[in-house]
Symmetry: C2
Subunit: 392 residues, 2 copies
């Protein structure tokens, strides 16, 4: 049967909010969610009673923060109890899923004003508890059970990419150098200090060839966005940003079952869906926040998203093509590596940065940016979302 | 601004599936999900490649079964990787949320064929780990932190209901007697043995006045449904069941913040939304599966859903009005008390029973049932879904 192709309303983001990312000792998972949402509501000029639904992205909240039903808990604290609220989970893509569901509910005409939020509280747990919790996103019956964790998975991906395409260790390390450089100006970022190739390559070994500076930190944080139909967005703000394309796909959960571990089919598929909806090509994107959960993941992402041909991600990074003044600015926020990676929050934090870019208010503003993209990945490719934003 | 009121397509359920509920020693959380979905797919006569999206309801899978990103994992095992898959969580209403999201995606024209599934694996964990995991659905900063658990919460609700309405201990116990009686014929049920008022009242004390037989068992299980537009449903099955109304609401998370703990505002609100969409009143419902997570919860539910006036739930139960041949048959499956309560699966298991009733194939068939209702609750009223089904 022919796929359904409903008429979609144009959707705008009229408000965004974010906590600082870092070790937020005095904050709980609920208080961080509230803080990001209060910022987004205030930014949107919307009366909170108008909010009709909440989608909350969170991954390991029950396990690390002992908090379930976070979506109604958030609604309670915001004083908007009664409306439908739903938590969505797709590992580290949970935030992207929340944004995706919020987009769909407005685009399909179900709701006019929807709050999307992502949150994670991780720094209060011991590192091994965090590693075990995150490993639930992998193939637990085969790979993770035998001791593989995500740093190990991405170490294999890095080795495969180097072997297949001749990507060099220095090219991979350049991702960390660039993103840490970008983090310096971002006052929401956890790390605001430069590094260099030598420091990345000689940092503590985690899972060869991955070193400490190839990894994102364990982070607390939350980010949020308010969505509404484009045709009423100007009633609230002067600078609404349109969400012009959205894609969501699943992929293999285990590396074992992947045909080629140097690419994530979920990313490719989600990107194609988003580009098609936006009627754009990868070359139309001016700025992108991509899922650099490890340095090599950014190189895989910029290839999977079509910014560079497969295998060219390393050289493109080395040549500065992904820098703030490059062909396409990638992770101007500092990315997961420098801004931090509170896993359930990341998808919304990416949207936060892209909205700042298109409003021309980013601390690392990309000149003339009119189209931005956010790419969020869960597990080692089990799920991906891609959302494309445009200055109106 | 006026609420959006999109035109909804009519939605049918063309297939359902369920594992037996119980202590399924040889099954994992993934294998149970697969089993229920295989049953539903087979029941629907749909080619699995036609499935366009999956919504999976699960609550404590990361914590008790160490499995995250369950939705793509399930898609992998079903051989339908690539499509969008989303886990939703609303504590014990997670299954109801999965059904709700699947309904919306078909009704709004986003997809034609959607798989909704709910699952939980609980029996492999020690009882105190289960109790702690479930307590994450409560007010963890105040109530649960001071030692309150869900049996304690519902004990307070039971005492309040008895004090306010004169509900007797025997009336509450009758819920357990009725549901255990219903469980005897249900070959999916965990408990298939009769009990009596004396046995309920004198069973082991859990949190006074709640005794062991006022509580549901810790259970493993999964249930699933396939949804599609009504106008093509007959191409697949002779007996599609229409989903004519759906409601979803949030409510207070803590008892402390509730104006009246003898009623759940989320249930009332979700029911009103579903009745309005279905253009029906509570008196039109022939058979209902309601969220009897404790005996008193069924009495609260049959009042909140409008089957009986507030305070009349106890006498109605005593008089047999909720029996198989009563005014409205409630929990013919045996309910959570006898069938079992694998928390994330419950919402879909309720739909499974209602579909059997409207197909006239239930093991406890209610004569002439043409309209059925499923009511799923999360936490102590933090979230509720109500779905209404009709024989075509």
């Amino acid at each position: 049967m022919k796929k359904s192709s409903p008429k979609l309303r144009k959707v705008a983001i009229i408000g965004v909010g974010s906590t600082p990312f870092g070790k937020l000792t005095n904050d709980t998972i609920v208080s961080m969610s509230v803080s990001a949402c209060e910022d987004a509501i205030s930014d949107s000029n919307l009366a909170r009673e108008e909010i009709e639904a909440v989608y909350l992205g969170n991954y390991v909240g029950e396990r690390l923060a002992s908090e379930g039903v976070l979506a109604p808990k958030l609604a309670n604290r915001l004083g908007i109890t009664g409306i439908p609220t739903t938590k969505v989970e797709g590992a580290c893509a949970s935030g992207g899923l929340a944004l995706r569901q919020a987009f769909l509910s407005v685009a399909l005409g179900l709701h006019n004003f929807v709050l999307a939020v992502g949150v994670e509280k991780m720094t209060t747990s011991p590192t091994d508890a965090v590693t075990s919790a995150l490993a639930t996103a992998g193939d637990t019956t085969l790979e993770m059970r035998t001791g593989l964790t995500f740093p190990g998975s991405f170490a294999m991906i890095m080795q495969a990419h180097m072997a297949k395409y001749g990507t060099t260790r220095e090219q991979v390390a350049m991702v960390s150098v660039k993103n840490h450089e970008n983090g310096i100006n971002n006052d929401k970022a956890m790390f605001r200090k430069a590094t260099n190739i030598e420091e990345v390559i000689t940092s503590r070994s985690i899972a060869e060839p991955i070193r400490l500076f190839d990894c994102p930190p364990i982070t607390d944080g939350a980010a949020a966005a308010i969505l509404c139909p484009m045709d009423i967005a100007h009633q609230f703000v002067q600078n609404p940003i349109e969400l012009i394309g959205s894609g969501h796909a699943s992929g293999p959960v285990s590396l074992t079952e992947s045909d080629d571990i140097t690419s994530f089919s979920a990313s490719v598929r989600a990107a194609n869906e988003a580009y098609k909806m936006a009627d754009l090509t990868p070359q139309d994107i001016d700025v992108a926040e991509v899922h650099d959960c490890f340095t090599i993941a950014e190189i895989v992402a910029i290839e999977d998203l079509g910014f560079f041909p497969k295998g060219n991600g390393g050289p493109a990074t080395e040549q500065g093509s992904t820098g703030l003044n490059g062909e396409i600015a990638v992770n101007p926020s500092g990315g997961l590596l420098a801004k931090g990676h509170p896993v359930g929050a990341t998808g919304l934090a990416q949207a936060y940065e892209i909205v700042q870019q298109l409003r021309e208010t980013s601390s690392n503003q990309v000149d003339g940016a009119t189209v931005g993209l956010a790419h969020n990945l869960g597990g080692s490719g089990a799920v991906a979302t891609v959302n494309i934003f445009k200055k109106v």
